[in-house]
Amino acid sequence: MTVRVQQVSKRFGRTTALDAFSVALGSGVTGLLGPNGAGKTTLLRILATVLPPDEGSVRVLGLDPSQPADRLELRRRLGYLPQDVGAYPGFSVREFVDYVAILKEHTDRRARRAEVDRVLELVDLTGKAYARIRSLSGGMRRRLGLAQALLGSPDLLVLDEPAAGLDPHQRLRFRELVSAVGTDRCVVLSTHQTDDVAALCRDVVVVNAGRVLFHGTPSELAASAAGRVWRSEQREPGATLAWVSGDGSTRQIGSPPPGADLVDPTIEDAYLVLVGAKALDDAEPIAV
């Protein structure tokens, strides 16, 4: 296994971000799904060696990040896209990626220039290489973050909401790029986009309140909601969630009545069964 997390807990004051969290991930693309505050970012920061766990053990690429020598070696083999890259607004795109390349020990100037050109081309930012970061749109900044994470073709790619703010064309390009990396290396990404998970991920981990609710393939996740999704003319009492779909029928999730018109669940349905219903238990019903 490329990533092995065992009984890891992390607290920030009175808030428990991860609670005896355990997961093992191999090569390929793994998606972390979960609501805001579920613990996804905390887990990714621990994997990226920028946050130590309070308890439990972590092994990444066979290395123990709690040991200084292993941590250094891991950082050499890691690409990390934080939720907020924090790129310096006064820098140009090329200047910032070059800066990160220097931090990543790309000391040969000509090789570094070629590598910077390569990653900018990969994320389609070559035409913006000399634009100031303050002038970039949110999607472009995300691509800039992805570019620096790809420097040096890392063995492990940790991406915190990499597709946020990307337009449909760029999302397709992002999927193409990440799936290519995931063919022989490990990519762990967090997302709120269930369609990205369906399109990209070999594995999916659903996280809520610092715990693993589900770990399996996207198709297994979708199958876990079999018999819980149905269609009818109007909302029924057993529905935890219901909405009118494009064809005018009402798609419902919950406990179907006898003889209900069951439909094949999607990943989003299964995610809502696992997490959404629980979250909505405490919420006020929406009046339209």
Binding site: R45, A48, T49, V50, L51, P52, P65, S66, P68, R71, L72, R75, R76, L78, Y80, P82, D84, V85, G86, A87, Y88, P89, G90, F91, Y99, V100, I102, L103, K104, E105, T107, R109, R110, R113, Q148
Partner: protein, 278 residues
């Protein structure tokens, strides 16, 4: 453009020019001619291999890159600092903020000193050690360096980054404070008496940063310093003598603080790495 001469380099001369084997005179003539003669430029194309072209391009890029770097970075490189260290030192906006902060405070202190009022001069000396303390904290506090999380995930050592930035800002702000303090009428001894406490406070900020945020560390050190000034001043004379803290016992206390801070910093330096277990 039409060439001003009827001379054209032949294929052998062009090849020698491309291979850097033409000799100074022929090379200069060929180069001048090529600038003006489109026909000869076309004749040159087959003689230049893609490898040679890539080398020329790379060399040109190197020169352009070097020219693009800020003059401060070029100076640091000439002083022997490595490229990574120079870039890390100057990259963060926090460095610029810290320096502007230092310059602004030094100018303010200078203006106070310009009044030549003994009370204001005393105040200047009391607050002088706090200038490098605040500027040092501002140079690496996470709230000022937005890309610090990203930096922490790279192999570049966090301890080195902090020491480089803290050292550079401390030296610059101390120099500014010396300039401001030199405007005072109390002579060299009075002017430099605050330097040792300032160095001790800077290292104390770094040592405290192994436990708390850099801004909090600077706040604790500043509060501690003002308490020391108050305690020493009232212990010796009434009314308050704000400069009593700079006497011999104050200097010895600074040495003791410096020693303790160095030991703490060395022993707990691993805590400056955000990925290190507590």
């Amino acid at each position: 453009m039409t060439p001003r001469t009827v001379w054209h380099p032949d294929a052998t001369a062009l090849q020698a020019y491309v291979d850097d084997e033409a000799g100074a005179a022929l090379a200069a003539s060929t180069e001048a001619h090529l600038l003006a003669c489109h026909t000869c430029r076309l004749a040159l194309v087959p003689a230049v291999t893609p490898t040679r072209l890539a080398l020329v391009r790379a060399d040109l890029d190197d020169r352009l890159d070097a020219a693009e770097r800020p003059w401060v970075e070029r100076c640091l490189r000439r002083l022997g600092l490595g490229e990574a260290d120079a870039r890390v030192l100057l990259a963060a906006p926090s460095m610029r903020r810290a320096w502007w902060l230092a310059v602004g405070l030094a100018l303010s202190l200078g203006l106070v000193a310009a009044g030549q009022d003994p009370a204001q001069a005393d105040a200047l000396l009391v607050f002088a050690p706090l200038l490098p303390v605040v500027a040092t904290a501002a140079s690496y506090a996470p709230r000022f360096d937005t890309a610090l999380a990203l930096t922490a995930a790279t192999p570049y050592p966090t301890m080195r980054l902090l020491l480089l930035r803290a050292g550079a800002v401390a030296v610059a702000s101390t120099a500014l404070a010396v300039v401001a303090a030199s405007a005072l009428p109390m002579g060299l001894a009075g002017t430099v008496s605050w330097l040792l406490p300032a160095v001790a406070l800077i290292v104390a900020v770094l040592a405290l940063s192994t436990w708390v945020d850099a801004g909090v560390a600077a706040g604790i050190c500043s509060a501690g310093w003002l308490t020391a000034v108050w305690t020493a001043g009232y212990g010796r004379a009434r009314p308050l003598d704000p400069l009593a803290v700079y006497d011999v016992s104050g200097q010895l206390a600074s040495i003791a603080l410096l020693g303790v801070a160095v030991v703490v910093l060395v022993r707990h330096r691993h805590r400056l790495d955000p990925g290190s277990p507590a």
